[in-house]
Amino acid sequence: MSHPAPALTYDATVADRDVEVRLEVAAGETLALLGPNGAGKSTILGVIAGLVRPSTGGVTLGERPLAGVPPHDRRIALLAQEPLLFPHLSAVDNVAFAPRARGAARRVAREQARDWLAQVGVADLAERRPHELSGGQAQRVAVARALAAEPELLLLDEPMAALDVAVAPALRQALRPVLADRTTLLVTHDVLDALLLADRVAVVEAGRVVETGTTREVLSRPRSGFAARIAGLNLVAGRWDGTAVVGELTVQGLPADEPLAPGSRAVAVFSPQSVSVFAEPPAGSPRNALPATVTELEPLGDRFRVRTVAAGVPLDAEVTAAAVAELGLAPGLAVNLIVKATEVSVHGVS
């Protein structure tokens, strides 16, 4: 807890799985790993945790090269893709395992464990054995168990899989403070996880890192095929004033999960699909009318992605080919971008 979070340098090859990757995670930073099935995400986590032996290269955590360091000495906790709860221990004892392994007294460890269980919303299942839990419940207990290890580096392999939609936001919120002061690698298939929990994103395809960058960069201007399929969001940063994010642009929206304190840093997120392009600002319910200039038109099958700049902020809209023709869209044209406030989710930025 008290040691400052160390930085991670990863440069290793796992030849028989054809995974050859270089990655850096700064101290305290959370890096999201995105990529299709079989891309090598779990393999990377396995190498870092000391469970998969790289054929060449290795991993350095802070000043420590981890080659030859056994898993339990790495101060790295791994939440694997399967929950793998210890079948002979109750939920609370599963979570108390790491505190007890660190030397905490049984009572203290169980108390901490109960706190963690409460944070992931399954406090009432503390005494259950793993085989008495549903799939999602087991997944949550596994998350609590990994968090309770309070490691220097946290590796989370799809922590939100199997969770119901009502729980995921709550869990995301529980994770945020935990990840804030801890170096973390987070494997996810969900852009929202990346957006809300990660500082930077690395996209892995077929065993290679095809793109890295800050979450905003990658999600708003994806260069890799995979990222483009799942991201391409508009992001506007600023401070929350109670109804809008105010920065270079003012964008009204609704806080996504938690209540935001006015004045706090926030980012407004909305998809290009939700952006309408008008010649003139119309009268109606949409709260956001942003004057912008078209910079580029990019065909996307039967649609076009309209790239614009509004007060220096790049914003995209996605419209049909018919709309392009009707509005005569072309680079240099001044337009009004209309976005409904209910389509804009606002997230606090720590």
Partner: protein
């Protein structure tokens, strides 16, 4: 969760059960029930039973203390010659116990390899109660090693890996994950080792001889009685059977409660 078994499976299963049970039943029918109480409470019988229980307990303990680490090393590490070591460790299973006794004498007897060393240390092992324990442990150890190694292999390493990533040092992993997970296998291995110790005869008589109260265990007593008093032999066999049933039953019960 339930799935049905193939029906035909019950036929060989019943045949097998009959094959084992029939001789036991037949033996029981031969017991002279009138004389039974006197036969099994004679001082020599009581001495032998008591000695058997003490030595079997001691040898089982020895087996657990040595066998669990051996099984763990065999199941969880790889080293050159591992296959040979494993085969050698299992050898006492195949060795006729009498040969085992000869081998023990060759090692620990007065004229054995370590005989001189032990004599200097003032330790005489052969033909003492300690020899009984060693003989029993020698033949029973492979049972424990096989059971525990099998359980370790079937349980796999996944949970141990998880425990390690949670920061548990090897000893903690061993104590809090490995052992609890293989407990059923360990328990049945312990029962097997105890049972084998209790029934051990050939190695004991060769290595420890037969001195009433010191090395005459129940099986040796039965062997001796067989000549002079077959009724007593059958009666004592029954006692052995009952003790074994109690041990096995208790262990299974404990296991069920896990």
């Amino acid at each position: 969760m339930t799935t049905a078994l193939p029906r035909w499976l019950y036929i060989p299963a019943l045949l097998g059960a009959a094959f084992v049970l029939l001789p036991l039943v037949a033996m029981v029918t031969r017991v002279d029930w009138v004389a039974f109480p006197a036969l099994v409470t004679s001082p020599s019988a009581r001495d032998a039973l008591w000695l058997s229980l003490r030595t079997s307990t001691a040898s089982t303990l020895l087996c657990v203390l040595l066998g669990v680490p051996m099984a763990t090393v065999l199941a969880r590490t790889r080293f050159r010659g591992q296959a040979l070591v494993r085969a050698l460790v299992l050898l006492p299973l195949v060795l006729p116990p009498v040969v085992g006794g000869i081998a023990l004498l060759a090692a620990f007897g007065r004229r054995g390899m370590l005989g001189a060393t032990l004599e200097v240390l003032g330790l005489e092992i052969a033909f003492t109660t300690a020899a009984v324990v060693l003989a029993q442990a020698f033949v029973a150890l492979p049972f424990l090693v096989v059971s525990v190694e099998g359980a370790l292999r079937t349980a796999g390493r996944r949970y141990e890996v998880v425990a390690a990533t949670l920061g548990a040092a090897p000893t903690t992993v061993f104590r809090r994950v490995t052992l609890p997970l293989v407990l059923p296998g360990l328990l049945s291995g312990t029962v097997l080792a105890f049972a084998r110790s209790l029934g051990e005869f050939g190695a004991t008589i060769t290595f420890a001889g037969s001195l009433p109260g010191t090395t005459t265990t129940l099986p040796i007593q039965i062997y001796l009685e067989r000549v002079t008093d077959p009724d007593a032999a059958v009666a004592l066999s029954l006692v052995l059977v009952v003790v074994a049933l109690i041990v096995i039953g208790t262990a299974r019960h404990g296991r069920g409660a896990l």
